[in-house]
């Protein structure tokens, strides 16, 4: 048992090793290159890191579930934007305005509901038509983005409410609301995936769909639930973020899907499904955010940032492979 745990740790260790290397590197390099006197590995800075990781992080957690399940969701960026729009726009509705600040939680609910519905639509299409989730959500990525634009033309949707901003910037022990939401999501979904029947079935379906069908798991509804979950989480991410920013650009969230998937895969989740871990994804998300932050800290310019991020993604993958090698006796296939 002990041994197994250790083995798993090493297997998923690449991402954490990489995080530590980054921390050390940016701390040391920062002293040479950075213009600011503040240390990189400062506690406040690390807490900030968690907050900054939240928008993609919360979505990546949902993506982990969907990917373990053997599917994928490319529409999360658009869902995120649409949920944000519903949240902010709803606060301009007359009856909501009349409610004053009491409208805030209601606006959040509207947003979350929107996300869940969009997820539901994807899920039901995947289930009922049997069209691959990749295509369904690739289509939805466009379609939902179209809905985003339909809402307000090419203009941003705007509602600045300082109570809401203050709530978003409130903190417990230095952790601001988005960071707290992120941590809570990680915890809950981790419990879901490791402790519940639904979570275990998600692995089974992703690993061997036929076996799951044969065992009598109702695969269709199960998949739908996970799409609703990721839609909900994309909306939750929007709630956490837009409460603190107050305006949605119709292009917001573009490329979020790719970054979320990157974080998930870096965290050790198999693209084909059946394997993956929430904690690994947490590592993947932190690693990416850390990289951006660190490169900014040492003053790298745009082209370097792009070059380095690209190279590092590949390097982590390589490292991961080396750690998981079986040695010389391995079958050469």
């Amino acid at each position: 048992m002990q041994n197994e745990t250790l083995k798993r740790l090493i297997k998923n260790g690449a991402i954490w090793a990489f995080i530590i290397i980054q921390l050390v590197f940016f701390e040391v390099a920062g002293r040479w290159w950075s213009l600011s006197d503040s240390a990189f590995m400062d506690l406040d800075n690390m807490l900030l890191l968690l907050k900054q990781s939240a928008p993609i992080g919360i979505i990546a957690i949902g993506m982990t579930v969907v990917m373990i399940n053997g599917n994928i969701d490319l529409s999360v960026g658009a869902t995120y934007a649409l949920a944000g729009i519903v949240m902010l726009d709803s606060m301009n509705w007359p009856f909501m305005e009349a409610m004053g600040d009491a409208a805030i939680p209601l606006a959040w609910l509207f947003a979350l509901f929107t996300g869940a519905i969009l997820g539901l639509i994807n899920g039901v299409i995947v289930w009922k038509t049997g069209v691959d989730a990749f295509i369904v959500t690739l289509g939805a990525m466009l379609g939902y983005r179209g809905l985003v634009f339909m809402y307000n033309g090419e203009n941003p949707t705007y509602h600045l409410n300082w109570t809401m901003v203050d709530f978003a910037e409130a903190d417990i022990l230095g952790l601001q609301t988005p960071a707290l939401v992120f941590i809570a999501v990680v915890l809950i979904v981790w419990l879901l995936m490791t402790r519940t029947v639904h979570g275990r079935n998600a692995y089974a379906i992703g690993d061997n769909r036929e076996a799951a069908v044969n065992a009598g798991i109702r695969v269709g509804p199960h998949i739908v639930v996970n799409f609703v979950l990721i839609g909900f989480l994309a909306a939750l991410s929007a709630v956490a973020f837009y409460s603190g920013s107050g305006s949605v650009n119709p292009n917001d969230g573009m490329l979020f899907e790719l970054w979320a998937i990157t974080a998930v895969v870096l965290g050790g989740t198999k693209l084909a499904g059946g394997r993956g871990s929430i904690i690994g994804t947490l590592g993947g998300v932190i690693a990416i955010q850390l990289l951006r932050k660190g490169l900014g800290h040492i003053g790298a310019d745009t082209e370097t940032v792009n070059l380095v991020i690209g190279t590092i993604l590949i390097a982590v993958l390589f490292l991961d492979r080396q750690l998981n090698r079986k040695g010389a006796e391995e079958l050469k296939v």
């Binding site: 339909m150 693209l271 792009n306």
Partner: protein, 326 residues
């Protein structure tokens, strides 16, 4: 006899749901706006789809081989920027700029192929990493500046994007010829067979003495070659380029390939179907634009058409409308 023909036509169509979807779609748009089927417009659409289409041809090989290539968009920017820059460089000129650009783009393809084929790294992440890295490379190369051809009237470089032969736009010609050539390679040669085998079951392919790594490597070279060709047309069509010309095209290209019916799991798909996928996307975009719809309405309609088309395709294959998943 005619009966026989109808019957076999019927059975062909039953297997080609995507083709049926395409035809249905073309007919309904023409009814809406007859200009849609205007010869000029049709060539116009194919011409502007040619860039995406040529990229999709290469990606078809990659996808059938069981991998993804998300780097094609940023590789396109790279090749367009490079060929324009070299064109302006007196030491090169157009005649040398083109082969030099092809060589450089193929190097990028070789990096993809090496990492994914030989080192067996996950193609999604590798090519996503390459997407970012190549963008950085392009920016470094160009210093972030747009590249433009200064003396546009003194070069024959515009022939690739704007020229015509036999009344057919050159990009269309290149697209169709390349599609025919690669279609034959894929369907008729031993190499093509190997791509299917490697994508269908890599282990079994290895056990059958197929050099899996080399085959995968080759698919990325083909993809890069197609991107270079597309980049050439792109650069020539606009006679200049921004560093972001190809940005975002990766997913569009993939959509065309998948829409055509290639499976992301590898092992299935054909060039012909990819061409259909490309044309569907191109004509949707054009048709909706002609219909005068706001671009965002186009998005929504594209979503619906993509799903209906693929659904029709698989429903005809399985002989049932609804999926059998419980």
């Amino acid at each position: 006899m005619a009966d026989q023909a109808m019957k076999s036509l019927g059975s062909v169509l039953a297997r080609q749901g995507i083709l049926v979807a395409f035809i249905l779609f073309m007919v309904s748009f023409t009814l809406w706006n007859p200009r849609f089927i205007d010869v000029d417009n049709v060539f116009g659409v194919i011409r502007s789809s040619a860039i995406l289409g040529i990229m999709a041809l290469g990606v078809t090989f990659v996808v059938i081989g069981g991998n993804l290539d998300l780097s094609v968009g940023s590789m396109l920017s790279f090749s367009a920027i490079v060929v324009l820059d070299l064109h302006e460089n007196p030491a090169f000129g157009p005649a040398l700029a083109i082969p030099a650009m092809f060589a450089m783009t193929l190097c990028l393809g070789a990096i993809n192929g090496f990492l994914i084929g030989y080192l067996r790294l996950n193609s999604l992440i590798v090519t996503l990493g390459m997407l970012s890295a190549i963008h950085g490379l392009t920016l470094t190369y160009s210093g972030g500046q747009n590249m433009d051809i200064a003396n546009q009237n003194e070069t024959w470089f515009d022939v690739f994007g704007r020229g015509e032969a036999l009344g057919i736009p050159i990009p269309v010609l290149i697209f169709l010829l390349l599609a025919a050539f690669l279609g034959i390679v894929l369907a008729k040669t031993p190499f093509g067979r190997k791509v299917y085998a490697v994508g269908g079951n890599g282990t079994a392919a290895t056990f059958s003495g197929i050099p899996r790594a080399r085959v995968v490597f080759m698919t990325y070279l083909i993809s890069a070659f197609c991107v270079a060709t597309a980049g050439l047309i792109q650069a020539s069509r606009t006679m200049g380029a921004q560093n972001t010309v190809g940005q975002g095209m990766e997913l569009e290209v993939l959509a065309a390939v998948i829409l055509g019916g290639a499976s992301l799991l590898g092992g299935s798909g054909t060039i012909f179907k990819t061409v259909i996928g490309v044309l569907i996307l191109g004509f949707i975009q054009n048709g909706l634009l002609l219909a005068g719809l706001e671009f965002y309405v186009q998005f929504v309609v594209t979503w619906i058409i993509i799903i209906l088309a693929v659904w029709l395709d698989i429903a005809t294959k399985r002989g049932k409308l609804w999926s059998p998943i419980a």
